[in-house]
């Protein structure tokens, strides 16, 4: 009996100190390491390993799964900016985006300036796909739009161009779920030319058979189905071809990238 009690105390002690130790070490070591830029540099290797391995596995250009109409989310959660601030956007909404232009410029032979009507007249692709937010939730929607690859071909991308940057009309103040306070900033995103030319990468003008509503990025949003939600820029105004990401905003190639998230969001 005494042996049993002693053992029970021993177990409780071990379990308790184990838990306490894990708590302390996380606060002491985990947080110190997280704050160290050298350590962050080490952790950042994982992104290049993921990018390299997924590029290898997806070298055949595999498509993201497409779902049946019955799978569409009855209510698709809007996220990020729900209504861009500013008079310009308000005016654009009021006049049904008739003066909205999508520019394709930068390192191209023939810069383009397209109206929504012109974009709707271009060959389009319709896909029912799953939208995966970095936070963990998913929603399924049907998207119709013009493949980005088609626009790039029409504009004639110069050989030195490496990235397509998507400039947006919204200023986002961050989201608590993504951790802490975030400084407001102009939303933008970027893809390299492999993902930009993927057949499912489209500039969508319609969702579930209707023109995009404001909370989902009216009048145009990017869909890049093999990556997480924050890559799917809304309120797109301009696609700029460039050879580098540095020098633009935070220099990491996107609003959330500038706030610590991975540029390659395939995982």
């Amino acid at each position: 009996m005494t042996l049993f009690t002693r053992r029970t105390a021993l177990i409780a002690g071990a379990a308790g100190s184990g838990l306490a130790l894990s708590g302390c070490s996380k606060i002491l070591f985990g947080d110190k390491l997280t704050a160290s830029s050298d350590f962050q540099h080490v952790l950042a290797h994982a992104e290049s390993w993921t990018l390299a391995s997924q590029r290898f596995l997806l070298s055949g250009g595999a498509l993201a799964r497409e779902y049946r109409p019955a799978d569409i989310s009855p209510r698709f959660k809007p996220n990020g900016t729900l209504y861009p601030t500013g008079e310009d956007y308000e005016d654009a909404v009021n006049e049904d985006f008739v003066t909205w232009r999508l520019l394709v410029d930068g390192m191209v032979n023939r810069p383009l300036s397209l109206s929504i009507a012109q974009i709707r007249a271009l060959p389009s692709r319709t896909q029912i796909t799953r939208h995966d937010c970095v936070e963990g939730w998913s929603a399924i929607g049907q998207w119709t739009g013009v493949p980005v690859g088609l626009l790039l071909k029409a504009a004639g991308v110069l050989p030195q161009a490496k990235y397509a940057i998507f400039h947006c009309a919204d200023n986002l103040e961050g989201e608590p779920a993504k951790g802490g306070e975030q400084a407001p900033g102009q939303y933008y995103e970027s893809l390299d030319l492999v993902d930009a030319n993927h057949p499912q990468t489209i500039i969508a003008h319609s969702m579930n058979g209707r023109p995009l509503d404001v909370s989902h990025g009216a009048p145009l949003r990017l869909r890049v189905e093999r990556q997480l939600g924050y890559k799917h820029a809304k309120y797109v105004q301009r696609i700029q071809l460039t050879d580098r990401l540095s020098g633009l905003y935070g220099g990491k190639g996107g609003y959330w990238e500038d706030r610590g998230y991975e540029w390659y969001a395939g995982i």
Binding site: G23, I27, G30, W49, Y67, D132, V134, W137, A177, Y261
Partner: protein, 284 residues
């Protein structure tokens, strides 16, 4: 892996009564992969809970957001005396204030699913938690592949972990022994007992499921292996299974640590560092 002592019975007789027989129990590869695995799993549980906090709901199926029906939610709601942490599992709602939903960190009341002391980093930061999680995921996978390949080729899996028919027949007795906190001694202590074998095989299965469900959550990997979505019943199901398997791994760790303490913590930990294990004598 036999030792001189094992193969020379004369020597054993010459060993003074008090001295325990020492065998070489864990090879270098088992010891190395054990500690790397322990480190990776420790970091991945902590960072995984931080990631969970970004969306503290679980669903079944392909899709799921707050606008759908979660089967598990850990949320904060306003109470008469400040926020209360509520854990909703199906219909039942449990008040988990202090631990889940609402907890304190250095005097501050925080509204988040898992408390700061359990997460890596301790503050809510999805970006940093993901960096930790994916870096150590690569370590876990590389380390796991080395271990599995070696275990198959060296027959470690077949010889030391796979239960024999005799093992399976001894399950009831082994359960009774474990409940009575009676540990094998002498010859019987030189091999893993049946519950140990099943527990280690269970852990290997859980880690494989963790990796596969983790990959199912990757939109890029899904395009390469869409069959994973069918295997687990959708991305949100995979996310829920990921969480449940992690809970299973936590249960394993608790039992594992308790057993190490009961079986003699110094000898057990020493054997996983040096490889050498002092066999508990038959009678004492």
């Amino acid at each position: 892996m036999s030792t001189a002592i094992e193969t020379a019975p004369d020597l054993v007789r010459d060993v003074p009564r008090r001295r325990r027989e020492v065998i070489y129990r864990h090879t270098f590869l088992v010891r190395l992969t054990h500690w790397l695995n322990a480190l990776a799993i420790f970091v991945m549980i902590g960072s995984g809970l931080n990631i969970f906090n970004a969306h503290p709901h679980l669903y079944w199926g392909q899709k799921g957001s707050e606008l759908d029906r979660p089967f598990l939610s850990i949320v904060a709601v306003d109470g008469a005396k400040g926020p209360r942490g509520i854990t909703v599992v199906g219909p039942p709602k449990l008040d988990t204030t202090g631990l889940l939903g609402v907890s304190t960190d250095r005097g501050q009341v925080l509204q988040k699913a898992w408390p700061s002391w359990l997460t890596i980093p301790s503050n809510q930061d999805l970006a940093d938690a993901r960096h930790w999680h994916f870096f150590f995921a690569w370590i876990l996978v590389a380390n796991g592949l080395v271990y599995l390949l070696w275990s198959l080729l060296s027959r470690h899996l077949r010889r030391d972990l796979w239960p024999t028919l005799g093992d399976l027949k001894s399950i009831p007795r082994s359960v009774l022994d474990h409940v009575r906190l009676k540990h094998p001694t002498g010859e019987a202590a030189k091999r893993y007992n049946v519950l140990q074998r099943l527990a280690y095989l269970g852990l290997i299965t859980l880690v494989i499921l963790m990796v596969l469900t983790g990959l199912t959550m990757s939109p890029g990997f899904d395009a390469f292996a869409p069959w994973l979505l069918d295997l687990f019943g959708g991305r949100q199901s995979a996310r829920s299974i990921h969480f449940l398997c992690a809970s299973g791994i936590v249960a394993f760790i608790v039992v594992h640590l308790v057993e190490v303490v009961l079986a003699g913590p110094i000898n057990e930990v020493k054997s996983m560092i040096t490889g050498r294990y002092a066999v508990p004598p038959e009678h004492d």
